[in-house]
């Protein structure tokens, strides 16, 4: 998962970004409204955390312009403003959720994850593909009742694929959604991780889960045989 954080308050942004990275979410940070809008309109993010008072371009205007450009990335607003009116107005103009400052960091993380999940059509935090269960809260994976140990990156790849059942996900898309700008973009990394993931998921008596479509990408098999 990859989240865009648009927040001008340096220390707050640092804390949020660190917390998100610690739970395995890639974070890009924009310090002002202009940059934030430029990042956001690429449409590569799974969620956007948006502060309202920003230099350059206000949060409202970023939200408005993103929605106008048909960018449907879920947006969570961080606001220190009082008043129900502004909240109603924000939700009406396309925000998906909001949190008032000072917020609880744990709650922020939970809300961001819930937003991403819902945007991908899953309402439960437990994703199931064939006989594989992915608990997105505890970040654990089990197959046929057997727990499988995955590295953080492997887990992120599997979770991302699980969020997009039947769809072919290119290596480029995976890079965009799983890594922030601080990482080096190298598609070989993805191949290596996929290979490891296949090996770990390959429990005796089960079918291969991840399909490779040459030059196109990867796909999770969903045609259940049971």
């Amino acid at each position: 998962m990859r989240v865009l954080l648009i927040e001008d308050e340096q220390r707050l942004a640092e804390n949020i970004a660190t917390a998100l990275r610690e739970v395995g979410v890639a974070v890009d940070h924009a310090e002002d409204g202009e940059d934030g809008y430029q990042f956001g309109q690429q449409g590569v993010y799974d969620a956007i955390v948006l502060d309202l008072m920003l230099p350059g371009k206000s949060g409202q205007s970023i939200l408005h312009d993103l929605r106008k450009r048909k960018i449907h990335t879920p947006v969570l607003i961080l606001t220190a403003l009082e008043g129900k009116d502004s909240i109603v107005q924000l939700l009406n103009s396309g925000a998906d959720d909001y949190l008032s400052k000072p917020f609880d960091l744990g709650e922020l993380l939970a809300r961001i994850k819930a937003l991403i999940r819902r945007a991908k059509g899953a309402s439960s935090p437990i994703l199931t593909v064939l006989d594989v269960e992915i608990d997105t809260i505890r970040q654990t994976v089990s197959r046929d009742g057997q727990s499988i140990e995955l590295s953080p990156t492997e887990y992120r790849i599997l979770e991302y694929l699980a969020h997009r059942p039947r769809a072919i996900v290119s290596k480029q898309e995976m890079l965009e959604h799983l890594y922030d700008f601080d990482w080096e973009h190298n598609s070989n990394v993805i191949e290596a991780h996929i290979s490891n993931l296949r090996r770990k998921l390959n429990i005796i008596g089960t079918e291969p889960l991840i399909e490779t479509l040459r030059h196109r990408g990867y796909r999770l098999r969903e045609e259940a045989h049971r």
Partner: protein, 477 residues
């Protein structure tokens, strides 16, 4: 609005005043009418008395005897029944009726009031010569005749009183009608006051909109009140809005600072960390907390400065305060390679707490250093002339934008709507400076220097300090 004191009603006052004036006028009028009517009636009465007396005189005629005697022939004279008369020739009474008082009979005047049986009478006395048989050869005989005729005056007074009564009744009716009309007219004319009050009543803490009703605006006497109300309310609204904005900004600022502290600590407690990570995290949290503390401190300072002065007399040397501020900001200036060049020609004693004076100087100085281009000079001059100290601090930075200029002293204004905190500071420094200056009747202004950079000018009331006194002030400080 309910007062335990007796309230004053303009309507009642007006009505009472107008009616009192009318009553006084009516009394005067009735008095005048009485005098006039009495005069008229008595003139007519006198004329009629005289007329009858003349008739009586005319009734003295030649007697039907051979001599030159005269007699009274009353056939052609109509005499009312209360009348009294006496017609006499020298020594001989020709005729009389009623009891004529002796005083009247012998009176020498031609008109006389007297009482007959307790009733007031008026008498006319006609002294005439009656010539009998003027056609005779001896041209007739002259008879000196004295006619006294009187009538009771009661009837006249009755007439006069009748007239007065008519006027009194008419006046009373008029008064009643006037009172009713007054009530109606005054009520109608006072309606604009009620309209104004009604409009003013709608003002609440949430809705300050007030525009005087047209009726009040068109009333000459109410217009100043309506204008004053409008102006006062608009001033109140402005200061209320300012307070509200300040509270909102302060809340925003504090919430952001609290959010940082909270998230720092929560981040630290998200999972088990090494001792080194905890140490670094706690240090960061402490820094965040220090920033929160600074914001609170500045808010409290501003709140204190915006309270009315307690009137305590105080003074301090502005030069000493400036020197201390320069000392305080030296390390920051060195860090940014900025040279501070101070030209202090005079010293001035300003009526400020020493701490406030230092705060004023250091806030402006730190601001100047912050906005200076690295390696440039901040120029300070302090002069005192005609009981005014003028402190100018000029930097060689990017200057200020004209659009920002009027807001620069507003709390939390940072030259950007976003209140970006990257530049550091709470955005309260200049507000505090303005509050310090305004508290003692001084002023602070910021403008662009013609040769570039921003120029802050502080003007404070001051008294010139003799050089020796400056020294002692420095020592005692």
């Amino acid at each position: 609005m309910n007062s335990t004191k007796a309230t004053v009603s303009i309507t009642r006052r007006l009505i009472v005043t107008v009616l009192s004036l009318e009553i006084i006028a009516a009394i005067a009028l009735v008095g005048a009418i009485t005098v006039h009517e009495r005069h008229l009636q008595f003139t007519a009465f006198d004329a009629s008395l005289r007329g009858t007396a003349e008739s009586l005189m005319g009734a003295v005629q030649d007697a039907e005897d051979s001599g030159d005697n005269v007699m009274l022939d009353l056939r052609s004279v109509h005499l009312p029944k209360d009348s009294i008369f006496r017609v006499a020739e020298t020594g001989r009474v020709l005729g009389s009726k009623g009891d004529l008082p002796d005083a009247v009979r012998d009176s020498a005047s031609d008109k006389l009031d007297d009482k007959v049986h307790g009733r007031p009478y008026r008498f006319v006395i006609l002294q005439g010569v009656r010539i009998i048989d003027p056609g005779n050869a001896n041209k007739g005989t002259a008879h000196s005749v004295r006619v006294i005729y009187g009538m009771p005056t009661k009837r006249i007074w009755h007439e006069v009183l009748e007239a007065i009564r008519f006027f009194v009744v008419a006046t009373l009716i008029l008064l009643g009608v006037t009172a009713l009309l007054l009530v109606w007219v005054i009520r109608r004319d006072l309606q604009p006051i009620h309209d104004l009050a009604h409009e003013a009543e709608r003002i609440t803490g949430a809705d300050w909109n007030f525009s005087a009703p047209e009726s009040a605006r068109q009333t000459k006497e109410l217009r100043p009140l309506a204008d004053a109300l409008e102006a006062a309310l608009s001033r109140l609204q402005q200061s209320f809005a300012q307070q509200k904005r300040f509270t909102q900004d302060a809340a925003h600022e504090l919430k952001t600072d609290v959010a940082i502290v909270k998230s720092s600590l929560q981040l630290l407690s998200m999972r088990m960390r090494t001792a080194e990570e905890y140490r670094a995290g706690l240090a960061r949290g402490l820094d965040d907390l220090t920033r929160l503390e600074k914001t609170v401190q500045k808010l409290l300072t501003l709140a204190r400065l915006e309270q009315p002065d307690d009137g305590r007399s105080r003074d301090c040397s502005l030069r000493a305060a400036l020197e201390e501020a320069m000392h305080q900001s030296k390390s920051y200036a060195d860090l940014r390679s900025i040279h501070i060049d101070a030209i202090v020609e005079d010293d001035a004693v300003v009526p400020l707490d020493r701490d406030d004076a230092v705060l004023l100087c250091s806030n402006i100085l730190m601001n100047a250093i912050q906005h200076s281009t690295s390696g440039s000079v901040v120029e300070i001059t302090l002069v005192e002339e005609s009981a005014t100290a003028r402190l100018s601090i000029r930097d060689h930075g990017e200057g200020i934008s004209e659009a920002d200029r009027q807001y620069l002293f507003d709390p939390f204004y940072r030259g950007d709507l976003s209140r970006s905190r990257k530049s550091g500071g709470t955005g309260l420094g200049l507000s505090i400076c303005r509050a310090i200056c305004q508290r003692i009747g001084g002023s602070i202004d910021i403008e662009n220097h013609p040769a570039g950079g921003a120029l802050v000018t502080v003007t404070l009331p001051a008294s010139l300090q003799p050089r020796s006194a400056v020294m002692s002030n420095n020592i005692s400080a």
